[in-house]
């Protein structure tokens, strides 16, 4: 029993890099219990009563912010929302001062989304609160990685030996790294597929298969996590046109049905229909995209719960 309780002893969730399979499994199992809570008529438990959580979003987000806020409310924590637009950030206040001022109002946990990689790590050095990374630049988005993995596990069971391919913009997203680290910790095999211009330079270092043709990826994997093509990337000349991208890498029914596979198709959202994924696929039987969203709340509840343990005063 004692050892069991020590499975998860982290103070913060900055990324899935370095997580063991046991730690990830523990989070997923905890989330399963919360998944049951959010199906109840009264979707709320008193577990985090009296805990204040600040959601600091220095970058736009709908899904992640609402998902965290719902998770906090369903645990009876008190959420406070902060977004950089309309705040003193525009008056030139430094990040350090902003968050130290917020902490001085007696808060327990900080959920942070920021365009710069490493900001959550920085916060652990200037704050006493528990820090949860809700996406830092192109680095990690651990709760997204966890909810993706949870959704895969829910669909296909044990992920050991399963083949997953991430498709699209591997370079600028924060979802790929969290998926890669988490899946590998559970023994899954991971591939990435996308145009060479959207592939990070050091992708070979993380032990994934790299594909530049979609057919190779479809041959390889059974689970596809289709990533959003950030429309602004086209202006940077990383691919010629959205239509060209769709022709080369878009996930279509026609492509999927060339293989006799029981596909699992995922997408972290927001979707660009007709670009990285066809509507028939996104809304079709293979898709578990909306399950991902539902599971996201349960995963965030689990993470908030596990990080809220504290020392005896």
């Amino acid at each position: 029993m004692k050892n069991k309780n020590n499975v998860f002893s982290r103070r913060h969730l900055l990324g899935l890099e370095g997580f063991t399979g046991r730690e990830i499994t523990h989070i997923l199992d905890t989330a399963r219990s919360f998944r049951e809570v959010i199906e109840r008529p009264i979707k709320k438990v008193p577990t985090l009563t009296g805990i204040t959580v600040v959601n600091c979003f220095f970058e736009a987000s709908t899904r992640t912010r609402i998902s965290f806020e719902l998770a906090e409310k369903r645990l009876s924590a008190d959420p406070v929302n902060f977004s950089s637009s309309g705040s003193s950030v525009s008056k030139g206040e430094t990040l350090r001062d902003t968050v130290r001022n917020i902490e001085a109002m007696k808060i327990d946990m900080v959920v942070i989304r920021h365009a710069s990689p490493g900001v959550p790590l920085f916060l652990t050095k200037v704050l006493d609160a528990a820090i949860i990374n809700a996406g830092d630049g192109s680095h990690e988005h651990p709760t997204q990685g966890l909810l993706d993995i949870y959704s895969m596990r829910e669909k296909v069971g044990d992920l050991k030996g399963k083949k997953v391919c991430l498709i699209g913009d591997i370079k600028h997203g924060r979802v790929p790294l969290s998926n890669i680290y988490g899946l590998q910790a559970l023994g899954a095999e991971v591939g990435v597929c996308g145009p060479p211009t959207l592939m990070p330079r050091f992708i070979d270092d993380v032990g994934v298969k790299v594909f530049t043709r979609i057919d190779e990826a479809l041959e390889y994997a059974d689970i596809l996590n289709v990533l959003r093509i950030q429309l602004e990337r086209q202006k940077g000349g990383l691919f010629p046109t959205l239509r060209e991208y769709h022709d080369q890498y878009g996930i279509t029914m026609a492509r999927l049905e060339r293989y006799k596979k029981d596909w699992v198709i995922m997408h972290p959202g927001p979707i660009n229909r007709g670009v990285e994924i066809e509507t028939a696929v996104a809304d079709g039987d293979y898709s578990i995209i909306l399950d991902q969203v539902t599971n996201g709340v349960a995963i965030r509840m689990a993470v908030l719960y596990l990080l809220s343990g504290r020392e005896i005063d």
Binding site: N5, N6, T30, S33, E36, L48, S308, G309, R310, I312
Partner: protein, 181 residues
């Protein structure tokens, strides 16, 4: 998980007889509207055994649910690590039902308080009655079992272990020393 045993209160047969007696006491009340809820972990197989005995004796098939009360515990702020959560599964409505809530041991009463709070979030039962196999005394809240197996007031250095075949590989009730932290 086996620890050193100070003494044995009941063996396999004793445990069976105790559960049998509890089941008979339940049958002697109005069971027309009863559902049984077992508390994680040991309460669950005990609840199933009670349901099975009631079915054998009265022919009435009982609905059995499972509840985990971790979310509702009141020691959140004084714990170092969060305890492991287990599943709750109540696949039926508890509105207007008479609930028989089953736990293996009753001690401070705080777990039962948490279970009552949890059940209220599932619906509005007509009534809730409490079953425990062992009452080890030292209550901290005004909560008493309606059906109890046996009483054994524990000393400060000992606790009660109810072992069940389904989880522990054997049936029996034991007094064991409190494991050192």
């Amino acid at each position: 998980m086996k620890s050193k045993v100070k003494s044995q209160l009941l063996d396999k047969k004793g445990l069976k007889d105790t559960i049998q007696r509890v089941a008979e006491n339940i049958i002697s009340t109005d069971i027309s509207n009863v559902v049984i809820i077992g508390m994680q972990t040991r309460g669950v197989p005990i609840a199933e055994r009670i349901a099975e005995m009631i079915r054998k004796k009265s022919g009435k098939k009982m609905k059995v649910g499972v509840i985990d009360v971790t979310f509702y515990r009141d020691d959140f702020r004084i714990r170092l690590k969060q305890p492991e959560i287990q599943l709750s599964d109540i696949p039926f409505s508890i509105d207007e039902k008479d609930i028989i809530l089953v736990d293996d041991v009753i001690y401070t009463g705080r777990t039962v308080r948490a279970a009552l709070a949890a059940l209220m979030d599932y619906g509005r039962p007509s009534s809730i009655k409490l079953v425990s196999l062992v009452d080890r005394g030292h209550r901290e809240l005004p909560i008493q079992p309606d059906f109890n197996g046996l009483e054994h007031k524990t000393k400060s250095d000992e606790e009660i272990q109810v072992r069940v075949e389904e989880i522990d590989g054997e049936d029996g009730i034991f007094v064991v020393p409190i494991p050192k932290k």
